[in-house]
Subunit: 330 residues, 2 copies
């Protein structure tokens, strides 16, 4: 497998150097692997810190900035960051108003953020945590006890980020983050496996002519394999899987997310089918976002995340955001 | 090759329907294949129209909006749009201040935009044209007489779009667009071929362990094939190729552009190497943009575009833009 890299060992450090060159509005500590918005700490504002294995870009580093994360901690590819990164990040962004850790539900991430929370609290930082576990495909996967955290992470980071930016106290920001996660569900499909730099070959074997339904974001196995399906059939399957578990009584945010190697042309076409199914099922759509946001290196495929929102969550979703990966409003 | 599509015949129409659902701020005529900013025509403002084959998203449709294009005409995948689309687009966006056609230098695009300009002028629309031909890799390729138009298209559309938004008259907007193109050069590499929906198999054959230097955005052949190179070596080759043809006497805008299937993690790492070469060569960098902007379906690889800018061009680059694919400022 060919990659645009030097050697596997320096992939994350190289990427952080390149990101720093492109984004002077971020303070990137390449050695310690912490990405911080340059104006942090912002007086009186609750800080949001997330992180996880690299390979899912723009998540999380691309979501650092006004209206979203205060800092992100990138681990090695598909490997949890270490507590030291999270403690450093918390110390760098805490204004005294406290820090919310946003943690995707993978065993390593959960353990390390737990340990970091204890360490940060020992240093006098008030820490709250929210776990993201939106993936309806499987429970107890290769890397998880319980459900995996996938696309809903974007919704949690954006909406909780807006709440913090609006000056809400830690308990409210935490409650909002939790509400977003509870109201969000995802389902993903892979048309190809992905290849990690360290391994250099596909993380799993997906025969030509088949797709994997219910894939996670690390190439971990999904629900089942089937002969290749059309965009229409995949949308039916994915949206029905989400709606089996979420019965929206208010409009939804829709994220049609590419896994990395699927062209935007196909993602938009897939979105047309997702919207058709939602219309057929009588689910009103408030906003739709299409693109590569929570990726899995060079995996081909897509995921659908729905998040039902009330007026408050929708207003926070619409609030301005200014990050490398997501940006709107003033 | 597996794709997230229904059938090849409906790929472009499906994508336009899905784009319309995600972007209510755009008026998309799916049947006639014209994407227009909803508030067009804007009184007194010069309008910008571009277009080309589909498969390069977010180019061009994703660059329609305040501060950039007024309208875009998507053709079939890797196939020029027809004059009728361009005439419709021009009629929809012309406020009386005239229309600038931004044309990538491919034979079909050039012929069709020429014909459309005549037809639009017959209908009383004042039309100017600018040709984008920034690719230093080859002259007279499979689809081109002269140099191909690639990554610089983004710079032309953004900077000329800002000029139009600032109220400049057609001659000045045209002159600025021309100045951007004259000061911009690109060079791309492919690590894999791309697959068009109609063909269903890779557009060319690139053996494992080799890369193609000087690739275009349609899978047309480049300068040469070599055994796989590191990110460092590729950056040296690409930047030197650009600088052989451009001797910047002022700071440059840098676009490190993914061809579609290369992870953002790798693109950022590649950017670190591009910045290193520029530093070694004494070329000052004004701004850097990294991401998938001028793509070639699911091709893996990247291109580097440099554009030397004076104060006026830099100010126009920094001006606010609000499109699906590029967005900053207010």
């Amino acid at each position: 497998m060919k990659m645009l890299i030097n050697v596997a060992e320096t992939v994350v450090a190289d990427a952080l150097r390149g990101m720093a060159a492109a984004h002077p509005e971020l303070a990137i500590d390449v050695e310690n692997r912490v990405i911080v918005r340059r104006d942090a700490p912002v007086a009186g504002k609750v800080a949001l810190v997330s992180g996880g294995g690299s390979g899912h870009e723009p998540l999380h580093g691309g979501f650092v900035g006004p209206g979203m994360l205060s800092a992100a901690c990138p681990g090695e590819v598909f490997t949890s960051p270490v507590p030291d990164q999270m403690v450093r990040a918390a110390a760098a962004v805490d204004s005294g108003a406290g820090v919310l850790f946003i943690v995707k539900n993978y065993t390593g991430d959960v353990l390390n953020f737990d340990m970091a929370a204890e360490l940060a609290e020992d240093e006098g930082v008030q820490v709250a945590k929210v776990l993201v576990n939106d993936d309806v495909a499987v429970t107890d996967s290769l890397f998880t006890a319980g459900r995996r955290g996938t696309g809903a992470t974007l919704f949690v980071e954006k909406i909780a980020g807006a709440a913090a930016e609006a000056g809400m106290p830690l308990e409210r920001v935490e409650a909002i983050a939790r509400r977003v996660n509870e109201n969000a569900r995802s389902f993903g499909v892979a048309l190809s496996a992905c290849t990690t730099p360290a391994k250099g070959s596909p993380t799993f074997d997906l025969p030509g002519g088949e797709l994997e339904l219910g894939i996670g974001i690390h190439g971990e196995p999904g629900r089942e394999r089937r002969p290749m399906m059309t965009s229409r059939e995949i949308a039916d399957f994915a949206v029905h899987a989400v709606l089996e578990d979420l019965d929206p009584r208010s409009p939804v945010l829709v994220l049609v997310n590419g896994m990395g190697a699927t062209p935007l042309l196909e993602l938009y076409g897939f979105n047309a089918e997702v919207q058709r199914v939602l219309l057929e099922r009588g689910v009103p759509v408030a906003r739709t976002l299409v693109g590569n946001y929570v990726t899995s290196l060079d995996m081909a495929g897509a995921s659908v995340t729905l998040c039902q929102v009330d007026e408050e969550l929708l207003r926070l979703w619409d609030a301005p955001v200014r990050t490398a990966g997501l940006r709107w409003g003033r």
